[in-house]
Every structure is written in C-alpha cells, then in structure tokens.
C-alpha cells in the first residue's frame, strides 16, 4: 500500500522522537563507560570493559543467578506445568480457583511480597540455608501469571483429553501421559515461560535487595558505588546480551511470551 506524505512525516517524527528517548540514554551509557578514569588514561579508553571479568563478586553472582533461573525453570517443568495439565485433565472443578491462584501475583506488587515473605526467609536463612538460590521459590511464584497465560493458551489449543485417552488406551501410565505425550505438544508455551524465567531472575532487584541477597543486580549496584564506569559497562553489556538473545528467537513465537498479561 502506498503511503501518503502526511503518514510518512508523522511516522518518522514519532520514530525519531521516541527513538531518541529510548536510544540516547543507551548511547550515553556507552559514552560514559569509555570515559577515562584514574590518572593513567587520556581520551577514550575501554579499560572499564576489559576489567569486567576481573570484578570480584560479579562472575559468581551471574553464575548464581543463572542457577537460580535453572531451578525456577525446573519448578515450572516438574511442578507448575504438570499441575496445570492435571487440573485441565482431571479436576475441571478446580480450574477457576487454580487460575485465580496463578493470577494472584499480578495483584501483589513485589514490594508487598517482600513484606509478607521476610519472616519466612529469615527462618530459611537461620534454619536451612543462606544461599541466594532459595530465592527460586518466590521467583517461581512471581512468574506464575505469565507461565499460566502461555500454558493455558497452549493447553486450550490442543485437545489434550483425546490425547490422554489415546495414550491410556495404548497402555501409558499417568507420568508418561503428562511428560511424554502432552508436554511435548505444548513445547512452545513451555519455552516461552522459561525465557521469561531467565529475564526475571537476571533483572530482579526489589526482593533480593531487601532480603540482603547478593544477586546480579545487587552486585552491579555495589560496583556502581565504587566504580561507575565499570558498573555502566556491565549494565550495557547485559542489555546487549539479552537483546541479542531476543533477536535470535523467531518473532512470532516470542511475542506471545512477553505480552501475555491478560487477566480474563
């Protein structure tokens, strides 16, 4: 369709204004991260970027955050997804309560969850473990709404009752039906949910900061207090990394993942 000049002018002025709003701060980060610091530099320097791997707390924090993300994904795969399938298959009466439970985190801001959960994590750190990996528990609840939306869409699209009956007739047990038959058919929904898990765990600040756990975001904040250039370059690097990951995933599949925040 040929576009009129009016539309084109409008379109490009919107793109340049909003684009500048979004991109200038990102460029400013790059600019800031290559500024000289200390006494030995003149002009531009990439010293902040080259010192990233040597930062004392950074690499362990990234590793911990990734392990936490893996635990969250395992909880999605072996707990949340099977329960969702189970409720769809066997307990139609529970569908509505289950949905409400899954959407509950949307109504509770992270800061409020911290208030409610602080005593629990105090107990956990005294009696069980001080490891930040225990945050996987609350994180898996935070992403419930997103997981639920992409799962229920996927489950509605497939006739899982027929699939389950066919599998049972051919002699599959319940575990086989859930993990071997139904889960592969809703693979896309599960992959989407897992992707959100990584993004959430790497970006979470509120809960881990107030509960005093050293996660990725908190370590960046800590570096920022002593060395702004390095902190800014780490931030920019992680943004570019996630952007790169996103561009690798085909657009169609991914879009449903991120914007599935419908309530109804």
């Amino acid at each position: 369709m040929k576009k009129s000049w009016g539309v084109r002018i409008w379109r490009w002025s919107i793109i340049s204004f909003v684009g500048a709003y979004l991109l200038v701060p990102l460029y400013a980060m790059f600019d800031f991260s290559t500024k000289p610091f200390g006494f030995q530099d003149k002009g531009r320097t990439f010293r902040a970027w080259t010192t990233i791997p040597g930062q004392p707390d950074l690499m362990p924090a990234i590793a911990r955050s990734l392990i936490t993300a893996a635990i969250v994904m395992a909880l999605i795969l072996f707990l949340i997804v099977p329960t969702a399938i189970w409720v769809h298959l066997k307990l139609p009466a529970l569908r509505r309560p289950f949905e409400l439970l899954c959407l509950l985190p949307l109504a509770i801001p992270a800061i409020v969850i911290v208030v409610g959960i602080a005593p629990l994590y105090r107990w956990i750190s005294i009696n069980l473990t001080e490891s930040p990996l225990s945050l996987a528990g609350v994180y898996s609840m935070l992403i419930l709404p997103y997981t639920y939306r992409s799962l229920s869409a996927a489950l509605d699209a497939v006739d899982i009752h027929t699939l389950a009956e066919a599998a049972r007739t051919l002699g599959a047990n319940t575990g086989r039906v859930i993990f071997g038959i139904i889960m592969p058919t809703i693979k896309t929904g599960i992959v989407n949910g897992s992707f959100i898990a990584i993004a959430l765990v790497l970006g979470e600040y509120t809960i881990s900061n107030l509960l005093n756990y050293k996660t990725f975001q908190n370590v960046i904040a800590q570096i920022g207090r002593t060395n702004g250039n390095v902190a800014v370059s780490v931030s920019l690097a992680s943004i570019l990394f996630v952007l790169f990951l996103l561009l690798l995933i085909p657009t169609k599949k991914r879009r449903n993942a991120v914007l599935d925040v419908d309530l109804v």
């Binding site: 949340i80 800061i111 920022g224 996103l246 109804v264």
Partner: protein, 305 residues
C-alpha cells in the same frame, strides 16, 4: 471374599465407593503445587492481609491502619505515588501507542519491526539499577547531555542535575520503561485492526482524520484504556528505580514500605509496612478489576469481528 463382592448391594456400594475415592484421590495431584504456592505465595499474602489488622502484640486492631491512613507523611507519599503513576501511565500510553502505530505501519516482519519489538521487550524489563545508571550517564554530573548543555546553555536546568532527583526526574525515568511496555501490550490490538475498515471508509469518501475519529479511536479506546491501567499498576508497584535513584525514604509509598521494613535505626515497624502494603494492594486490585472489565469488552469485540 471375592465371591461376596459379586452379590448383594454391598458390592455395588463397594464399587461406587472405590470410584468415589478414585475421584477424590485426583485431588492429591495438586498437593505438591499447593504446598509450594502455600509457602511462597499464600502465606505472604495472608501475612500482609492479616498483619494490617493487628497491633504490635498480634491482637486484632485497626489502630495501625488508622494511624497510617491519617499520617501526613504516608498521605504525601501515597499522593506522590498516585501522581507519578498516573502521569507516566498517560505519557507512556500516548508515546508508546504512537510508536506502536509507527511500527505497525512499517513493513510487516521487516528489519525495523523485528528490532523495534525486540528492543521493546528488553527495555520494558529495564528498570532499577541499570535504568538509573543510564540516566545518570545522560543527565547526571559529567553526563552526555549535561556536558553539552553546559557548553551551549550553562544557565539552563539541563546543565545541573538536581531536577533528576525529584518528581520530574522520576517521571522521565519511569516513562522510559512505560513506553516499551505499551508497545508490547498495544501492538497486537493495532495489528488486529482490519484493513477492510479503512478501505470501506475510504471507498465511502471518508478522509483519514474521519476514519480515525469515527472508527479507529472508538474501536481502540477500550484496549488503550486497559493498557494504560496496566502501565499505571506497573509504575505504582515499581520500587527498584526510585530506590536506586533517590534516597528520600518518604517520597513514594514503596520507598516508605522498604524503610518501615528494614530501618536499622529503631524505625523498623513491620505493622506499618503491612498497613501501607494493604493500601497499595487495594489500589492495585481496583485498577486490575477495571482492567479485567475493559478486557472483557475487548474480547467480546474481537470475537464478534
């Protein structure tokens, strides 16, 4: 034993009985999930909800709720929170909506489309520490634009960075992540606009502005308002950005909650934190209810088309 099962009513009862129990035993399947969500989701929710109605000794009382409700500091923070959420929701919805329109009007599936959508998904999650760094690098001391302003117009407000640490600065920072979220939420709606409607309007002699005024805007209004409510909740709940940018503990309700929760100088007051949280949740639930109602209208319309 086996023989007795085949005669009399007892056996029939026995069989229904076993089916009855088999039906009930399906409920055992949700127990693991109920256990985990009970610990990490229902317990904290209950803790906040019940804690708001207790005094410091754990007895039922409305004292703390009333105290928080009447406190000038809490009211000021709450008003600030509502103001910044409303402002950034409207600004984000308008700018993001326009940007979404610009994306849809490009080549579908083209390079610009892909990059813009991917960038939006990244930046919508881009709050907190990193966002603060980005704007400090732009407008803060020795920042990109601050340095330029210092050379061109040393007397303008851009040359200094004091404005960044108040309502204006926070509004600009919040809008930064509201725009991409709006793009993500609103893009599917725009893509669902049927080109036939525009063609019909054109064929009947309608001008472009008439199409938007009489068809486009009325159709899009419910989902636009719904998206704006979502943005409102998003910035109302936001804590990380404000916490890393400014240290004024009474400026916004989330900051006040964090102070009441963690203060180490004797100010820690979990009861107050719970009461403040309670008021926050009420606002979020009201907004989400309206959102749900609007979405129902949208999905009705989408089914009808």
């Amino acid at each position: 034993m086996t023989q007795t099962q085949y005669k009399g009513t007892g056996s029939a009862n026995g069989r229904t009985g076993s089916r009855y129990w088999r039906g009930k035993s399906a409920y055992l399947g949700v127990l693991p999930f109920l256990f985990v969500s009970g610990i990490f989701l229902l317990y904290p929710t209950w803790n906040v909800a019940s804690g708001a109605f207790q005094d410091k000794t754990g007895k039922f009382s409305l004292a703390v709720l009333k105290e928080v409700f009447n406190s000038a500091v809490a009211r000021h923070a709450f008003a600030n929170s509502l103001e910044i959420s409303a402002k950034t929701a409207i600004a984000g919805a308008i700018l993001g909506g326009l940007f979404a329109w610009a994306i849809v009007n490009g080549k579908p599936g083209g390079y610009f489309y892909r990059v813009a959508v991917a960038l939006s998904s990244v930046l919508a999650q881009f709050g907190g520490v990193m966002l603060t760094f980005a704007f400090l690098a732009t407008f803060g001391f020795n920042g990109l634009i601050a340095n330029v302003a210092l050379k061109i117009a040393p007397n303008s407000f851009l040359a200094g960075s004091a404005w960044l640490y108040g309502m204006t600065g926070l509004t600009i920072l919040y809008t930064f992540f509201q725009i991409p979220l709006m793009v993500l939420v609103f893009l599917p709606t725009l893509e669902n606009l049927k080109p036939q409607w525009r063609e019909a309007s054109d064929a009947l002699g309608g001008k472009a502005y008439e199409y938007w005024l009489r068809i486009g805007i009325p159709i899009l209004t419910p989902s636009f308002a719904g998206a704006a409510l979502l943005l409102f909740v998003n910035s109302f709940s936001a804590y990380a950005t404000a916490a890393t940018l400014i240290n004024l503990s009474d400026f916004l309700t989330p900051l006040e909650i964090a102070t009441a929760l963690t203060s180490e100088t004797g100010g820690a007051n979990p009861a107050e934190a719970k009461s403040l949280s309670f008021f926050m949740v009420i606002v979020v639930i009201i907004a989400m209810t309206f959102y749900a109602l609007l979405r129902r209208r949208v999905s009705k319309w989408e089914q009808r088309r």
